[in-house]
Amino acid sequence: MSLKAFHVFFVVISTLCALGFGGWAVADYQRTGRGSALLLGILGFAAAAALVWYGLWFLRKLKNVSFL
C-alpha cells in the first residue's frame, strides 16, 4: 500500500473522528448548556466537511500516482 492509499484511509478515519467529536460535543452541550461545547461541536462538523473537500481535492491532484 502506498502513502497515497494510506493517506486516503487516514482522511476517511479523521473525517469519522471529526463527525464523532461533533456529535459528542453537541451531546455535551445538551447536558451542560456550555456555549464552548456547542462551539467545539460546530468546529467538529466544519472540520469533517473540510476533510471531505480536502480528500476529493487530494484524489484529483494525485490522480496520476498509483495506489500501490
Partner: protein, 202 residues
C-alpha cells in the same frame, strides 16, 4: 569493488514493492501489536473498574478536551503537510518538499509543546502515573505516543537536512525514503486519532 544493494527503487519480484517499503510495513505491523496490547490492557482495566476515572466525574472533566482537540487538529494537519512533501518529490520540486517537510516538523513540535503544558498541569496538581489506573494508562499511552512523535521528528529532520543530499544522487530513492517516513508518520497520527476519543471523551 562496490556492492550494490538490490531493490532500493525497483520492486522486489516476490513482494512487488521496494525493500524499504516492505521493511516499514513490517515495522508498522509490530507497532500495531505494541499499541494493540496496551490498548487492550486499557479496555480490560476500564471495564473492570467500578468508576472511570476512579476518582469520579468524567474523563472529559479530568483531561483538557480543548487542548486535546487542538493537538488532534495539529496532527491531522501535519499528515496533510507530510503527504504534500512526498507529492512535491513526485512532481520533482525539492524546494516545495523542504517547505512542506519543515511545516510537518514544526507542527510536530507544536504538538509536543502542548503536551508539555498538559503534563505540567497534571504534575502541578499531583497527578502522576502512580496516582491511579486512569493516570497510569493516560501517561503510558500518551507518553509512548509522544516518544513516537520524537522519533518522527528525528527522521523528518534528517530528510529535511542532510538526507536531502540524496536528491542529487537518486531522486526516486529519496522519494521512496520520504514515502516510508510518511507511512510511519501517518501511523503515529492514526494512533492519536484512536487515543484522543478513547482517553479524553469516552
Amino acid at each position: 569493488m562496490e556492492t550494490a544493494i538490490p531493490h532500493l527503487v525497483e520492486p522486489h519480484p516476490v513482494t512487488g514493492i521496494p525493500n524499504g517499503k516492505f521493511g516499514i510495513w513490517l515495522f508498522l505491523a509490530s507497532e500495531v501489536m505494541l499499541f494493540g496490547a496496551l490498548f487492550s490492557s486499557y479496555v480490560l482495566i476500564r471495564v473492570g473498574a467500578p468508576h472511570w476515572p476512579p476518582e469520579g466525574g468524567l474523563s472529559s472533566e479530568v483531561l483538557n478536551v480543548p487542548l486535546g482537540t487542538f493537538n488532534t487538529a495539529v496532527l491531522i494537519t501535519s499528515s496533510i503537510t507530510m503527504v504534500l512533501a512526498w507529492a512535491s518529490c513526485k512532481m520533482g520540486s525539492l524546494p516545495k518538499f523542504k517547505l512542506w517537510m519543515a511545516a510537518t516538523v514544526g507542527l510536530a513540535l507544536v504538538f509536543l509543546v502542548v503536551k508539555y503544558f498538559e503534563y505540567s498541569d497534571k504534575f502541578h496538581h499531583g497527578h502522576f502515573p502512580s496516582h491511579d489506573n486512569f493516570y497510569g494508562i493516560y501517561f503510558v499511552l500518551t507518553g509512548l505516543h509522544g516518544l513516537h512523535i520524537v522519533g518522527g521528528i528525528v527522521v523528518n529532520t534528517y530528510l529535511l537536512t542532510f538526507g536531502s543530499k540524496l536528491w542529487n544522487v537518486d531522486r526516486e530513492w529519496f522519494t521512496n525514503r520520504v514515502e516510508n517516513a510518511g507511512l510511519y508518520w501517518h501511523f503515529v497520527d492514526l494512533v492519536w486519532i484512536f487515543l484522543f476519543p478513547s482517553l479524553y471523551l469516552l
